[in-house]
Amino acid sequence: MPAAAPFSWIKPEPWGIHVVPANAWVDPSRAVDRALVTHGHADHARGGHGTTVATPETLAIMDLRYNTREGATPVEYGETIRLPGGVDATYIPAGHVLGSAQILLEHAGERVIVTGDYKRRPDPTCPPFQVTPCDIFITEATFGLPVFTHPPIAEEMAKLLERLAAHPDRCVLVGAYALGKAQRVIAELRAAGHHAPIYLHGAMEKMCRLYEEHGVDLGELRMVMDYKKEDIRGHVVVCPPSALNDRWSRRLPDPITAMASGWMRVRQRARQRNVELPLVISDHADWNELTRTIEEVGAQENWITHGREDALLRWCQLTQRRARALAMVGYEDEDD
């Protein structure tokens, strides 16, 4: 039997990355028999799979969202699991949100990493990204344009607290992705010395409790619905981005609307959201982190997916790196 062509065992398809010998899929966007899931965001983790292999934290998040206890196969960070067909999968911290992992796939002496989403900044809610050598590096590119450089988060927190102090009769309403961004913002506010109660939109409660159960300290949290308008003056309120301009916010005392997102770097994006206080905070790697990571990993080949692939592809070309863009669909991150 002739030897198989190099890397023929890994096939990108529009709905996920197919690990052929194991008949497994990484972050499939449709239901499959065996899914390897990098993290709990809805565009990567979907319900309905036969078996779901993920970190215990990611499985807990998926359980909360889709009740997917059946077929859950936990893998700790650093642990390797043997899949059918002689494929080994190792879960490595990606630094994106609680439980997020890069998945290292090894077969016939070849190493492929699927990053899922990742960032390189410190985050009090999850362990940092680990640079791991491999042959093919499949990287995300959500902020893959040189205009995206995220400022240090401490600067953005200072902006928020300054605005809060200047308007003791109002409140600052922060729109933040309910999984990850919200908890990171709260934890960073605590780190910046803000110990007052933080008020939450109802949709945030369960995920914040889940983070606390996993040892992330978020300080005193209160539900908006349990309090009166008067109580909330001078405080920070956190809600999902969709609630920012919703009727729900009318119960708040003259809110200053803020949005914590990497897209806030672009003025028009903040305007489109009607945001008064844009906070450039992202759980994705910015342009410099993406390019630095590609350099540090030093793979023979880079596959670029979900996001602005063209620019990263161009950068690889300019720096004489082999690269290709994958045509994956449905991996959206409008709210990050």
Partner: protein, 479 residues
């Protein structure tokens, strides 16, 4: 400074492909540059506004390349954005000019209509206006200046029915509404927004023999004549002449412009605007005899027995230079702006055709980074027998913000090809496109061009093979 200067400034600092991709996503040159400019290692020491203005005014086209970087290095991204916007003269905040005038009027307790009138005769920073409003000096004298007087505008008629005893009907011509002003020894032509477009139509600058302010429709004569009303070519012909700084002799002979008069505001020193429309109309009808018929005619009053009869006349109008009807209250004075109950516009119903989305491009401004500009096509034969789609038009409007988000997602999830900023989609979505008219055109492969196409409805439900064929669209060509 032009925005090409910004591009040149960045040329040595970033790969041109990365620049283009970034510019395309951000949707604004100054902002893109402000984000791409490397941040200074040390804490920025931002210059003051007056220091910046002085330095900018001291720069010339060459020295800017040496001096501007130094200023940029002293600023953070927002500061760099402000600096580049100041330098290009593009520093804008979104306040309508009417709101600014209203605020001025309220601040000094003067009439907003007067402010509106003087405003156009003066130049920033408007010292005469402040002298008058704030310091009680006599109002600025604009009588002998060829300045713009704000137009009277119309509301859409919609479901309203009017009595023709109170209202007169006129055709609404499909050209550009203009104001012809002669004062001193000068004639100027203003567009609806008050822009001076005199240079584009030199043949009209010498033909008004007395001081006046006239309101009319600018049209051109052309080979495609406009049916029974005669004389005017379609808007398509007029379009060839718009936006030109110099006009060739050929243009002047092939598509000469003339003005079809609607109204007279001022006449030889007399202000007619307070008079009822019937009286102004009578003056206009006398006046026309004193004007050369090569360059002027009168927009005639459409006679009808009653409103229903008028509706029939509107339905039957086949003239391509007609956009619909105007209804003007017979006793209406000429009032700036859009006052309810005086003037109505009653456009012809738009034409509709089902097209397939083919290409999409990102918008700019508020829509930057969304795929909001759509090119769509019709079938060149039977789609079930292997016909192909040919592009027939492009539209940017007609959908809500919510729909835009869905469309953007559709484009991103159904891209099959990329050509720079343009995405080719898998041609799986039908748009019902509304448009005012369609013309032969060599610019498009389909040989057709629509006038004012917009997305009427998004037909998520409709199979693409049920979209219309080119033949159906061609049958609607009238010129």
């Amino acid at each position: 400074m032009k925005s090409s200067t910004i591009r040149n400034l960045l040329k040595d600092r970033i790969d041109p492909v990365l620049w283009t991709l970034s510019r395309d996503f951000v949707g604004d040159t100054a902002e893109t540059a402000s984000l791409l400019w490397p941040s200074p290692q040390t804490d920025p020491s931002p210059p003051s506004v007056s220091e910046t203005v002085e330095m900018l005014s001291g720069m010339n086209r060459k020295s800017v390349f040496a001096e501007l970087p130094g200023l940029l290095d002293r600023l953070d991204p927002s500061g760099r954005y402000a600096l580049l916007k100041l330098a290009t003269g593009g520093m804008r905040i979104g306040v309508s000019s009417r709101l600014a005038k209203t605020a001025f009027a309220q601040a000094f307790e003067v009439g907003v209509d007067e402010v509106e009138e003087y405003w156009h005769g003066l130049a920033p920073p408007y010292p005469e206006l402040f002298d008058w409003a704030a310091h009680g000096k006599p109002p600025p004298d604009i009588a002998n200046l060829p300045t713009f007087r704000p137009f009277m505008l119309a509301h859409p008629l919609e479901e309203t029915v009017v009595d023709l005893a109170d209202y007169a009907a006129e055709w609404k011509w499909d050209g550009i509404r203009v104001q012809l002003v002669r004062a001193g020894d000068e004639t100027r032509i203003y567009s609806r927004s008050g822009d001076d477009i005199s240079a584009t139509f030199p043949e009209l600058l010498d033909v008004l023999p007395f001081p006046a302010v006239l309101d009319g429709e600018l049209l051109v004569r052309g080979t495609h004549q406009g049916g029974e009303e005669g004389g005017a070519a379609s808007f398509n012909a007029l379009q060839q002449r718009l936006g030109r700084k110099t006009v060739s002799r050929k243009m002047l002979t092939e598509a000469p412009a003339f003005v079809r008069l609607y109204d007279a505001l001022l006449l030889e020193g007399e202000d007619l605007r307070e008079l009822p429309w019937t009286q102004r109309r009578a003056r206009l009808e006398q006046l026309i005899a004193r004007l050369p018929d090569t360059h002027f005619d009168l927009s005639r009053v459409v006679e009808a027995r009653d409103f229903d009869h008028l509706a029939q006349i509107r339905e039957g109008s086949r003239d391509d230079a007609i956009e619909g009807l105007m209804l003007k209250r017979r006793d209406s004075p000429y009032i700036a702006g859009r006052r309810v109950g005086y003037w109505y516009k009653w456009k012809r119903d738009p034409l509709l055709v089902d097209c397939v989305l083919m290409y999409a491009q990102r918008g700019s401004g508020k829509r930057s980074s969304f795929f909001s500009d759509y090119t769509f096509g019709c079938w060149d034969g039977d789609p079930d027998a292997g016909a192909e789609l040919l592009p027939v038009g492009k539209a940017y409007s007609g959908f809500t913000d919510e729909e835009l988000k869905k469309l953007d997602r559709h484009v991103r999830s159904n891209t099959v090809n990329r050509f720079g900023p343009v995405r080719e989609t898998d041609k799986s979505l039908v748009f019902e496109v509304a448009f005012d008219s369609v013309h032969e055109s060599k610019r498009h492969k389909s040989g057709l061009a629509m006038r004012f196409p917009r997305i009427h409805r998004i037909r998520w439900d409709k199979p693409v093979h049920e979209a219309d064929r080119i033949e159906a669209l061609r049958a609607l060509v009238r010129d």
